[in-house]
């Protein structure tokens, strides 16, 4: 990995961090530097892929696109840094004080044990990631046959739109471009292809997901429970394995997590706008990562429109999601071939599949058998998560509300996945067998976050709350 490709990832991450600090600092929201640092790399990388897509459309070659892209990100970052120096956010001191308050609420020995536990599981996950990468530097089958193939196509072709050909429908040329464009952009910055780049991007999204879960649970429920939630995330061997596969399931899992966490946290806030802009951005980027993300985007907007007062929530969500949705719309309308779900069957056939009881029975049977066993953990990851939460359970009304709200969204996503299984033109059992583990991987961080809202590091408290008194 060259300095160029590293900077291609780091500079947008820094810019995103500065934007998030500015966005969150303006409100009384209980969001700090640590959460901004955990969220920024994924959001920054995501928005960088959007900007690069627009520049490629404009210039039609990587050479010019890289120059303009570098100029855009350097100027933006320098401008944001200068603005931060000239007009520092008023929330800096308060955020630190809140961090300290949350940390003090945890019991020392338990904190030490959970830090050690999380470090041990993180070390094992990191070592597994590295070993898997040395054995499979191009990633697993789907990584090289879909995501890294698309990245290579985008980089090496004289016409960068050539790879969106229905002739290679097996590589799903209709899939959105966040991951392949991020890889291609980094390669374009360094001037050469390297198998390290997709692995580093996979690592960034995996680490960011763990950090967002630990920090946001820690801030809401105490640091001991936050660290326990990180451990729970890593007990699932399937999740750790998928981290190293270089597919798009970890990135979309990160965006699903951020979107649902921020939408959930926005409930009851005096000023929900910073949460909703961040959540909207993550939902938009999820749709720009994989087609499943479109389901999340629709769901988030549906829920927000039901809960919204005076439509301001929808405006904030739209502001966050606007850029990713714009590039997705351009891609889907102008470049992408149609999706295999819809171009291989008629509407009548799709409707027939939805109401075919035989197919529903197969999907339900597969879910019932696969969900409890998911994770390659003794007893199943969900049971392990349930036991850990049960041992530390100490919910209050607000935290139970957050858990129920987030789990409802996770369940809605899962029902959506089930509907896609019902209508798939591919052999149903094969489709489930080859994708189920990855779909649950996408939802696992959010499930862990939601479940640990029911836990607490001590007597239930919501330190430093900026919530509206109801």
């Amino acid at each position: 990995m060259t300095v160029g490709s590293l900077l291609a990832l780091l500079v947008p991450a820094l810019a995103a961090y500065l934007v998030l600090r500015r966005l969150w600092g303006g409100s009384r929201a209980r969001l700090g530097r640590a959460l901004a640092a955990a969220t920024a790399p994924g959001l920054g990388i995501g928005f960088a892929s959007c900007v690069y897509f627009l520049l490629l459309l404009l210039t039609r070659n990587h050479h010019s696109a890289v120059r303009l892209d570098a100029g855009f990100w350097i100027l933006s970052t320098v401008g944001l840094l200068a603005y931060d120096v000239i007009a520092p956010g008023a929330s800096r001191q308060r955020a630190n004080a809140e961090d300290d308050a949350a940390a003090r609420a945890s019991w020392g020995p338990a904190l030490v044990v959970t830090v050690a536990g999380l470090l041990a599981l993180s070390a094992l996950a990191a070592a597994s990631f590295w070993l898997h990468w040395t054995l499979n530097p191009h990633g697993e089958w789907d990584a090289w046959a879909i995501w890294n193939l698309r990245a290579r196509s985008l980089l090496t072709g004289a016409d960068w739109t050539a790879p969106f050909s229905a002739a290679i429908g097996w590589s799903h040329p209709d899939y959105p471009l966040l991951v392949p464009l991020t890889v291609a952009r980094s390669w374009a910055y360094s001037g050469r292809e390297s198998t390290v780049v997709p692995a580093v991007i996979a690592l960034i999204f995996s680490m960011s997901s763990i950090a967002v879960v630990v920090i946001s649970v820690g801030r809401l429920r105490g640091w001991t429970v936050g660290l326990l939630s990180g451990m729970a995330l890593l007990i699932a061997r399937t999740y750790v394995f998928q981290s190293s596969c270089q597919c798009a399931d970890q990135p979309i899992g990160f965006f699903i997590l951020v979107a649902i966490v921020f939408l959930t946290m926005s409930q009851g806030e005096i000023d929900p706008r910073p949460f909703l802009v961040t959540g909207g951005a993550a939902a938009g980027l999820a749709a720009w990562t994989k087609n499943e993300g479109a389901l999340l985007l629709v769901l988030i907007f549906l829920v927000a429109s039901v809960l919204a007062r005076r439509g301001r929530a929808l405006l904030s969500l739209t502001a966050g999601a606007a850029v990713p949705v714009l590039v997705l719309a351009i891609f889907k309308a102008g470049l992408s071939p149609s999706n295999y779900l819809f171009d291989q069957q008629t509407i009548g056939e799709i409707a027939g599949k939805i109401f075919a009881t035989g197919r529903s029975a197969i999907v339900i049977d597969q879910f019932v058998r696969r969900i409890p066993a998911w994770g390659e953990v003794p007893g199943g990851a969900l049971a392990g998560l349930g036991l850990a939460v049960a041992l530390t359970a100490s919910p209050d009304r607000r935290s139970a509300g957050r858990a129920a709200f987030a789990l409802m969204l996770v369940c809605a996503m899962f029902i959506g996945y089930g509907l896609v299984y019902l209508i798939t033109p591919a052999p149903l059992e094969w489709q489930i067998a080859t994708s189920f583990d990855r779909l649950l991987t996408q939802l696992w961080p959010t499930t862990v976050w939601a479940a640990f809202q029911l836990s607490s590091s001590g007597p239930s408290r919501e330190a430093g709350s900026s919530r509206r008194v109801t």
Binding site: W107, P109, A110, V113, T114, G117, A120, L121, L124, A125, A127, S128, L131, T134, L135, N136, P137, H138, W141, W144, A145, N148, L149, R152, S153, T156, G157, A158, D159, A162, P163, A167, I168, W170, S171, T224, V225, L228, M231, A232, L234, I235, A236, R237, V240, F241, G375, E376, V377, P378, G379, G384, L387, A388, L391, T392, S394, S457, G458, P459
Partner: protein
């Protein structure tokens, strides 16, 4: 004072949860980690199968047009998993060209697994009946050949 036993009990529960999660994570992760470790040791300095297959097709890059569609002759066992993987890897190595199954395009890639070399010389007609109308355009040291349709 009433809160003290509750707190002690709660701390024990937190420690139990941490111990359980550590056990679950280690027992789930150690076995595959050790299996990968053994695979890595056995592999040594040899390239992985994807790199090897991709390198095999990368030799063809200079002999094919820079873009457009290229044909690929499938094996008799198509779509066996190994054959599908090899075909996908041809696309991976030769992108941005679009590699398609069949002999419709002007250039067709033939791997030894699909058609054994039959002593053709460059410029002579293919002897495999599936390649009727094609001449051998290029032969590579690893057994892969490119055939080209003659007018």
């Amino acid at each position: 004072m009433i809160g003290v036993p509750w707190r002690v009990l709660f701390r024990i529960r937190v420690l139990l949860a941490a111990a359980f999660l550590l056990w679950a994570g280690l027992s789930a992760g150690m076995r595959p980690f050790l299996a990968d470790w053994r695979s890595s040791a056995a592999k040594g300095d040899r390239a992985d199968i994807i790199s090897r297959e991709a390198t095999r097709f990368a030799l063809l890059v200079g002999s094919l047009p820079a873009g457009g569609t290229v044909g690929y002759l499938p094996t008799d066992h198509w779509p066996a998993a190994d054959d599908v993987r090899r075909f996908y890897l041809a696309e991976y190595a030769l992108t941005p060209r679009i590699v398609v199954i069949g002999t419709a395009p002007e250039f067709v890639i033939v791997v030894p697994e699909a058609s054994v070399e039959d002593g053709e010389s460059v410029g002579t007609a293919a002897r495999d009946p599936r390649l009727a109308g094609f001449v051998l355009y290029q032969r590579f040291s690893n057994g892969v050949r490119i055939f080209r349709r003659f007018a």
